[in-house]
């Protein structure tokens, strides 16, 4: 599959191995140790593999190895099992799989590490879970055949039962589990043809819809354990700073405060509940050693990056001879694009609950990189990874924040639990919103500079793009994925430019400045798609051509790009005249092996204030397993991208983050949400992700629409309405 062949993804295999995870492939049809271990009703249940369990009462439990953070894995993944198992949707219940790299490794990352990211969940589970369901189905048929002494070929699985075709004798799966549990799983199974699908392709209801609407859904912070204590951490006011001295008397005197302890990340205040911990933390006085402080200012960084973008960087892509073509060109265009730091700011601030004992560590968290989290927790606790149990809870959003190569919040929680072992209490470590906004791990600040020339027909003849920003991978366990100095997460979406350009060169400057950075929903595509899609619009304008037709002509060799582009344009009514002050803009982008085009319609006031009225989105993500979830992810991705386009900006002054909460780091509000139409391209291709690919095209589509409405180019995010003033 395409995704697994992606060199970036493949190297995750090595990264995973480096983390100490065992190597395994094709393990998943073996009897399900974990499924059996985690079976509540154990003995009588049938657990043919690690992914499902059937109880005598006919409930089918699907174990989901990925984090549910809103993207719909608790729905899309069980659908694959239900399809092959021939079970009605209502009969399926969902459970989070335990952390176990051998059983639950992400196959898109080589199968050695369990984790959720890169919009790979459905993609890597597509064959695995259908096979898991099919294997169970065949075993249930074999069980009925043995009980009834008939040939398996005389039987059929249907709606949670096995039926003898001739006699119509039937037995529910629940009635067959005891016999089926005695059988050996088949070595290979036949999967259903698309024409036979009853579940795949249907907008079946989300499995978590009811509990989330009634407040019953359990997030990590909702966990109730006897004696649970709450911890808040005072972290350094500047990145890279260490504790010099602590005055904790006042904090310790706060009623309810149980302990104040230093941990590697700062100082933890442990108390009977959140409010006591908060008051204790407020009363704590910490003096910091600022010797190694990262005293940078984002304005200065931006200037520094703009200067760097004028110099040659490391080569990320090189076809033809862009430099020569540019020097010979009669006409060249050049533009610079800038992008600020961005915080993930999921609605649920980070929470991790830890119960530490001498020989075991139990963790409840919205763990997104379970294998790494397990290894890091074990190291801090002085245990083996297999002594660390992770209960992956629902996450109240993540957008990449929980997939931290340092496992930061989990590491803090385990360190706090270790430092307070004498309290013999489970620790709930919480971040406040201020901790979250100021706490780093941002989408890095980036600058792009692109120069291009056009040929006689107005087509791009040369394209030289320089990208400047921090590497997300450098200095992490995933650093091995940096090849020849190129962190692919900095250049993805640009180094593999889809438009036909005979002379293409993409260069990268990876900077270092001590500000912690991290992947943020759609990663490099958050900036590369904007630079590329706005600049291609500029080339179309310079060539005097329609921006849609211009793109279409340059995508002759990219049929899937073209199909979504054409679909979005057609549904949006591209080409119809609009009144003054309104405009349509288009953008198309491939990310995580899915293809998305978006057309934005804007209305701009004379003072530059504007509204995004409508967005038409077309997506090709292969087989549309659950169209409703796909639509939701496109809507959500567009809303997420609009927050960045309209509002998102983290700034630093002398090393201090200037924002602290939603008041100064605003999110999109309901009144700013445009009408959105989503059109899904019918496809039988291997399904690919939808969590991230909706994000990249929206900011450039809006910028291009603003150009259509005002004649003014937007090259800096977030968009400044003052610059659009008539």
């Amino acid at each position: 599959m395409h995704a697994i062949d992606n060199p970036g993804r493949r190297t995750f295999l090595k990264a995973g191995a480096a983390l100490g995870a065992g190597l395994t492939l094709g393990f998943y049809l073996s009897p399900g140790r974990a499924a059996r271990q985690t079976a509540a009703s154990t003995a009588a249940s049938f657990a043919p593999n690690a992914f499902l369990r059937i109880a005598p009462d006919n409930t089918v439990t699907v174990l989901v190895k990925h984090l549910e953070m809103g993207q719909g894995v608790y729905t899309g993944l069980p659908m694959l099992v239900a399809e092959e198992l021939e079970v009605p949707w209502e009969q399926i219940r969902v459970e989070s799989a335990p952390a176990d790299a051998k059983l639950y490794g992400n196959l898109a990352w080589g199968g050695t590490a369990q984790g959720t990211g890169g919009s790979t969940s459905l993609n890597n589970s597509w064959d695995q879970l259908r096979q898991a369901g099919a294997a169970a189905r065949e075993m249930l048929i074999a069980a009925a055949a043995a009980l009834w002494t008939v040939e398996p070929s005389a039987l059929k699985a249907e709606s949670g039962s096995v039926v003898h075709l001739q006699s119509q004798r039937r037995a529910t799966y629940g009635e067959l589990v005891a016999k089926a549990a005695e059988l050996t799983p088949p070595q290979s199974v036949k999967l259903k043809a698309p024409a036979e699908w009853k579940i795949i392709g249907k907008s079946l209801p989300r499995k978590d819809g009811q509990t989330k609407a009634t407040g019953q859904a359990q997030f990590a912070g909702d966990l109730k354990l006897p004696g649970l204590l709450t911890a808040l951490v005072v972290r350094p006011p500047l990145f890279g700073v260490k504790v010099k001295s602590i005055k904790a008397d006042t904090a310790r005197a706060v009623p309810g405060v149980k302990a104040v302890v230093q941990i590697p990340q700062g100082v933890a205040v442990v108390a009977r509940d959140f409010w006591a911990a908060k008051k204790g933390r407020d009363a704590l006085i910490v003096e910091w050693d600022e010797t190694d402080a990262a005293k940078v200012s984002s304005d200065a960084l931006r200037e520094q990056y703009l200067a760097l973008a004028k110099t040659a960087g490391k080569v990320a892509a090189d076809h033809g001879d862009a430099a020569q073509a540019l020097s010979k060109a009669a006409k060249t265009l050049e533009a610079t694009f800038t992008f600020p730091y961005l915080a993930h700011a999921p609605m649920e601030p980070l929470v991790c609950v830890v119960q530490l004992k001498d020989d075991a560590c139990e963790i409840w968290a919205g763990s997104q990189l379970q294998t790494l989290d397990q290894a890091i927790a074990a190291k801090i606790a002085g245990l083996q990874p297999e002594q660390v149990t992770i209960h992956t809870t629902l996450a109240g959003g993540s957008f990449g924040r929980h997939a931290n190569p340092t496992s930061d919040y989990i590491a803090e929680a385990v360190a706090t639990a270790k430092a307070t072992r004498e309290l013999n209490a489970p620790i709930r470590l919480m971040w406040t919103r201020e901790d979250d906004i100021k706490g780093g791990y941002y989408r890095p600040l980036f600058v792009h500079r692109i120069a291009a020339s056009l040929d006689a027909q107005g087509k791009p003849a040369a394209w030289l793009q320089r990208i400047v920003g921090q590497s997300i991978l450098a200095g992490t366990p995933f650093g091995g994925m940096i090849k020849d100095g190129i962190d692919f997460t900095s250049v993805e979406g640009a180094s593999n430019l889809s438009y036909a350009v005979p002379n293409l060169r993409v260069e990268l400057h990876s900077t270092q400045n001590g500000i912690p950075v991290l992947w943020w929903r759609s990663v490099g595509h958050t900036h590369t798609a904007f630079a590329v899609e706005v600049f291609i619009d500029e080339l179309a304008a310079a060539a005097g051509q329609d921006p849609y037709e211009y793109r279409r002509a340059l995508l002759a060799d990219h049929p899937r790009h073209r199909v979504v582009l054409e679909l979005a344009a057609e549904k949006a009514g591209w080409g119809s005249p609009l009144p003054k002050g309104r405009g349509l803009g288009i953008a198309v982008h491939e990310s995580f092996d899915s293809f998305v085009a978006e057309v934005a319609e804007v209305t701009v006031q004379p003072d530059g204030n504007f509204k995004v009225d409508r967005v038409v989105c077309a997506v090709d993500c292969g087989v549309a397993v659950n169209p409703n979830v796909i639509e939701a992810q496109m809507q959500g991705g567009i809303g997420f991208g609009l927050t960045a386009a309209l509002h998102g900006k983290i700034t630093l002054k002398d090393g201090r983050v200037e924002q602290s909460n939603y008041a100064d780091y605003p999110l999109l509000r309901i009144g700013e949400m445009p009408k959105i139409e989503v059109h899904i391209v019918p496809s039988e291709a291997h399904p690919t992700g939808v969590g991230e690919p909706g994000v990249p095209p929206i900011a450039p589509a809006v910028a291009n629409a603003l150009y259509a409405a005002t004649g003014k180019r937007v090259r800096d995010l977030p968009i400044d309405p003052a610059a659009l003033k008539a």
């Binding site: 609407a213 407040g215 909702d222 109730k224 649920e348 992810q633 008041a663 309901i670």
Partner: protein
């Protein structure tokens, strides 16, 4: 001891009087459907009703609500909340789901005073409820659905 009435039940709680209602609900009473999002009344995740009015429980000292009727997402006695919950499920509103209890409580207060709101009414009433998953389009649809159900 502070006496509170939550969802029709009376509770005696031992909490300092400045403790925000949010943390009494969550940490003392174990009613964890009400969420912490910002702590400064700018995100709406902690929205509850106090005597029928939507309030941000993260900045509301427990001492200020003694003797008041408090309604949370766990209510079993509020037909407007229940109609909204059903509509939420029908419209498949939730993604991560974290902000939705607050959205529903804000929407319930709107429907109590305005049984047939327009999109603009909904946008105004829910402008203080943030959703990072941007489920807003479905929130609007679900509020309209609940209004229809309740008006039928």
């Amino acid at each position: 001891m502070t006496e509170l009435t939550v969802n029709g039940h009376k509770y005696e709680v031992d909490a300092p009087p400045d403790t925000p209602l949010l943390w009494v609900l969550r940490d003392t009473l174990g009613l964890t459907g009400t969420k912490y999002g910002c702590g400064v009344a700018v995100c709406g995740a902690c929205t509850v009703h106090v005597n029928g009015n939507p309030m941000r429980s993260c900045v509301l000292p427990v001492s200020a609500v003694v003797g008041s009727r408090i309604t949370t997402i766990e209510t079993a006695e509020n037909s407007v909340v229940q109609a909204l919950q059903q509509a939420w499920v029908q419209q498949e509103v939730s993604q991560c789901g974290y902000c939705q209890p607050g959205q529903i409580l804000s929407a319930a207060a709107l429907l109590a005073s305005n049984p047939r709101p327009t999109d603009a009414d909904i946008d105004a009433a829910l402008s203080g409820n943030l959703c990072r998953c941007a489920t807003y389009a479905r929130i609007r649809a679900a509020v309209h659905d609940a209004a229809k159900t309740l008006g039928a």
